[in-house]
């Protein structure tokens, strides 16, 4: 029987309850956004007693569906002031699902501040444990201690020092398969929500739970699973030794650079002269040189067959950090004028240790450089600034609050954010469709929410010219709806590359979800579910006080031409407003 686990931080109690019928089909983002909309007053202070933080595995998470260990974390964002769903790939979510927990809801707030708690969830019990001894300590030091206490079968959710400091760029950390604190539901400052509730850890151990979630229609599920697996194994981007498996997401560095859409030095250019040195190819070559091996197949979680993650090594062949993703390399690399994977690696490691989102942290660093705190390209200075965040110094508290806050503190105009959230690694002036997504997604500037890069750059799901504006509103809208369902299914978003090109792959995803739940959904049904999720999120934002004015790009992008294509942001307000309809 599926259950909700409610954790009340006011009383210090936790208890299971049945799942109301209206939520019975939901999972992942569908459930976190619906519960947030129903249970969090839209005008609640994100760090106050009335916000909630909801963890929900996807619909097929915990089954044998391929690449499906995704977990949604949702609530009201301290960074954007609107609704937020952040997403991570980790076994933690699979264990939660197998324990029959559809949603773990953290609510309330201790009357006395300053004490930290952990929660230990097993098949037999749910118990609090004091966590004050771990306050302020880097997560790379903390995780091994927790694994020693709770065992290797456990998985650990944690907030770092940033969450304890209630910084609006605090992320939610999960361990990877080797126990590193490296898989983040990073965006939107949800770590601070947990910090405001005094909950630093949730340790989940599914020992004794069934090895799979219940499946209502096994035949349909298996049929879907086969179709999706075939699609993933045959598409050039997702297949073994394909693009993602060989070079990771960092394969995009050189591609976006050639396209003139790699934001460089705080979004002042679309091309970086040092791009090749921080690319996926350089990562592969560097690792090969330093370890003597060609490294492939690092998976963030069990059951992933794409396996696009990586572990970066130091010159002496020892491990430095996992994972150097496209976004993280870009934010500290091209966006800061830094051309060394050793430097980006250290900055990423510090983000993991301190507990902040790498995209927001790197864009913050670019704004800080523009504001004169360091020179572009000065990696050592950037590292010192990251340490300030970890210490919680006054400067650190500014930087730990993200790019918009830092921009205001330093009087910087060129601040690349929407709804207060930093833009990711695609320049909207050079790729108009992703700009529409940045402007109109209820999540704030978010690339995964409506990844039009697929057709605009990668030729997936058709071919679109990134520099033109026509039809981009419709394109982004369609992507936002479909993605909202994928985010609810429990699959990694990267299945989209395969399933948008291979129809049977898309059918497979639908049949898996329908098989688990015992529904007879079609492709159109799930896209409609996705559309409704986005609508629910948008309505929450409007009730929270957002208006059309929040669905706009920063002014500087309208008048500052971006090299090398010398383009400005020119999608009209009317086109932006058409994305979500009347």
């Amino acid at each position: 029987m599926a259950r909700f686990l409610r954790v009340n931080m006011t009383d210090g109690t936790a208890g299971y309850e049945g799942v109301p019928e209206k939520y019975s089909m939901m999972g992942g983002r569908w459930l976190t956004s619906t519960l947030t909309a129903e249970e969090v007053p839209p005008t609640a202070h994100p760090l106050g007693p009335n916000n909630k933080l909801i963890f929900s595995p996807g619909i097929v998470t915990g089954s044998s569906a391929p690449t499906s260990a995704r977990l949604s974390v949702g609530g009201k964002s301290p960074l954007t002031g609107g609704i937020k769903e952040a997403n991570a790939g980790t076994r933690w979510g699979q264990q939660l699902a197998r324990l029959g927990i559809k949603a773990l809801i953290v609510e309330g707030q201790p009357a006395t501040k300053g004490k930290l708690w952990g929660l230990h969830v097993t098949n037999e019990s749910v118990t609090f444990f004091p966590a004050d001894e771990f306050a302020g300590i880097g997560l790379y030091e903390v995780y091994p201690k927790l694994f020693e206490r709770f065992g290797k079968k456990a998985d650990i959710m944690a907030i770092g020092a940033a969450g304890e400091f209630l910084m609006t760029n605090a992320g939610v950390c999960f361990n990877d398969q080797e126990g590193r604190p490296s898989r983040y539901a990073g965006r939107g400052g949800l770590g601070a929500v947990l910090g405001s509730k005094g909950l630093k850890f949730i340790v989940v151990d599914g020992t004794g739970a069934p090895s799979s979630i219940p499946i209502a229609n096994k035949e349909l599920f298996d049929q879907g699973r086969k179709k999706l697996t075939e699609a993933l194994m045959s598409h050039d981007i997702t297949k073994p030794k394909g693009g993602l498996n060989s070079f990771g997401t960092a394969v995009l560095i050189n591609i976006m650079n050639e396209a003139g859409g790699l934001p460089t030095r705080n979004f002042s250019s679309g091309r970086f002269e040092g791009a090749a040195d921080i690319s996926g190819e350089a990562l592969f070559e560097g690792n090969k040189q330093r370890t003597g091996k060609e490294l492939y197949n690092h998976a963030c979680s069990p059951g992933c067959i794409i396996r696009c993650s990586n572990v970066w090594h130091k010159p002496d062949g020892t491990e430095h950090v996992s994972c150097q993703e496209y976004e993280s390399i870009w934010s500290f690399g091209a966006n800061c004028g830094i051309d060394s994977l050793d430097s980006t690696g250290e900055l990423i490691r510090l983000c993991n240790d301190i507990g902040v989102d790498t995209i927001e942290a790197g864009v913050t660093m670019g704004v800080a450089m523009e504001g004169g705190l360091a020179k572009f390209g000065d990696a050592d200075a950037a590292i010192q600034l990251m340490h300030e965040i970890g210490k919680g110094s006054p400067l650190g508290r500014i930087l730990g609050n993200g790019a918009a806050f830092t921009g205001r503190a330093l009087g910087v105009v060129r601040v690349p954010t929407v709804k207060g959230q930093a833009m990711p690694a695609y320049e909207p002036r050079a790729v108009k469709g992703i700009g529409v997504t940045y402007a109109t997604s209820p999540m704030g500037a978010d690339h995964t929410a409506g990844y039009t890069i697929a057709p605009e750059i990668l030729g997936v799901s058709g071919k679109q010219d990134p520099l033109t504006t026509s039809n981009k509103a419709g394109l982004s809208s369609a992507f936002q709806s479909t993605t909202a369902f994928i985010d609810s299914s429990g699959h990694c978003l990267f299945i989209a590359f395969a399933i948008l090109d291979i129809a049977s792959g898309f059918e497979g995803m639908v049949e898996e979800s329908a098989g688990v739940l015992g529904t007879n959904w079609t492709a159109d049904d799930v896209v409609e579910i996705g559309r409704k999720i986005v609508k629910t999120e948008r309505e929450f934002n409007l009730a929270a006080g957002m208006t059309k004015a929040d669905d706009r790009m920063p002014e500087f992008m309208k008048y500052e031409p971006l090299p090398p294509h010398n383009v400005v942001w020119d999608v009209s307000d009317e086109e932006l407003d058409s994305v979500h309809g009347a």
């Binding site: 050039d236 693009g243 070079f247 050189n254 050639e258 690319s279 190819e281 030729g459 090109d501």
Partner: protein, 87 residues
């Protein structure tokens, strides 16, 4: 004059295509002299790269098909289907 019948184009190869020019450092271009009127596909033929191995061809930062005609000074970059396209 002979010179007017030729154009010079710079070429970069990325990801799994790099072995076609193994001595070229990543991100650095090589220069090709081509007859005027040469198209993207002709460059691939000249380098011995099977046309089906590239689906992303950037010319001056814009994606072009194999029949796109090149001009003097064009900068070309080629990626294998790591960058997508229908299989």
């Amino acid at each position: 004059m002979e010179d007017t019948a030729k154009i010079q184009v710079s070429i970069r190869l990325y990801a799994g295509l790099r072995h076609y020019l193994p001595d070229l450092p990543l991100g650095k271009p090589t220069l090709l002299i081509l007859p005027t009127g040469a198209a993207v596909g002709d460059v691939l033929d000249r380098l011995g790269i099977p046309r089906e191995e590239t689906r992303s061809c950037f010319i001056n930062g814009r994606q072009r098909d194999h029949d796109f005609v090149l001009s003097e000074g064009d900068e070309a970059a080629f990626f294998p289907p790591v960058a997508g396209g229908e299989s």
